[in-house]
Symmetry: C2
Subunit: 153 residues, 2 copies
DNA sequence: TTATGTGCAAACTGTTTGCGCGAAG
DNA sequence: CTTCGCGCAAACAGTTTGCACATAA
């Protein structure tokens, strides 16, 4: 096991694991570190690659299982991306106080974050008229970004 | 080749194919029939199954390819569904004048349609503030439906 | 006749799972 | 010491692709 210093966010997450009676393992610690370091959003495969750099020998399947349990515990959040891999990030990330929804450009495939509250009026309407509770951050929205629109004319 | 009567929508689609110099084949005709008959939204596999009933021997891969070309021609529309198969429907369907966006319940997996214009204010904001052009119908939104919310308490 | 679409099999990506071993508690 | 997580390999779903053959135009 590697003994890199755990950041505040990671320590918090590990404590939460222990509290819930879950085990703290090298793999889970490594996954948390990767997510903590990552500025953007990473898919499981990317995470596996980086985990394997820090903690060689950790299997991809383990990364998937770790992400699953961490998601169930509410430590990480995942966003489904149409037509490609699910992306993951730490839930109570310092940079994101409100929570954010995800936009993906269908052309260049880049992601853009928007504050969740942009979706609040829509969510309200769905609740009122359909009784449907929207989870704004759970699926990426598609469209075309400014750059690609300009490029396309 | 089967000689079932083509509906107006199917005839229109086939004409469009010819106009564009694309070939009218049994497989494509069958795919269009299935989409025309279908009330709800079907994934490629479902379409393949139904196509095979009407036109035995049509390969799944052909259905995928047909859907692809029909989508490029703007005859069918597809919606990516987080975590499962892409769903397809006829573009200028008689029942859907405005176009609709798709909601999926994460619990029971059922779909709900909402008018695209519910997303117009959000789309406007994205365009103004980010230059991002939202394609509201291109990805399903996730949440929890009234029934499942009630069931969960 | 000739380009385009098709059938088939095989690859591919993203993800899950059954099994026995190993390590956290 | 016991249970839970892990590594591994294999399976899975959804989709795409290279190739040779068939067929719409």
């Amino acid at each position: 096991m590697r003994h890199t210093e755990d950041s505040a966010a990671v320590t918090e997450a590990l404590d939460l694991l222990r509290e819930k009676g879950e085990r703290v393992t090298a793999a889970r610690r490594a996954v948390l570190h990767v997510l903590d370091d990552a500025s953007g959003h990473l898919c499981a495969e990317d995470i596996a690659t980086r985990v394997d750099e820090a903690e060689p020998g950790v299997h991809r399947a383990t990364v998937y299982r770790s992400l699953q349990s961490l998601a169930e515990l509410g430590i990480v959040a995942h966003t489904h991306v149409p037509g490609s891999a699910t992306i993951y990030h730490l839930r109570h990330s310092p940079g994101a106080p409100t929570g954010h929804a995800h936009l993906q450009c269908s052309t260049c495939e880049r992601f853009f974050d928007i504050p969740s509250d942009w979706l609040t009026p829509l969510g309200d309407r769905m609740r009122e008229e359909l009784g449907f509770e929207l989870e704004a951050q759970h699926a990426a929205l598609l469209g075309t970004c400014a750059q690609c629109r300009a490029a396309a004319g």
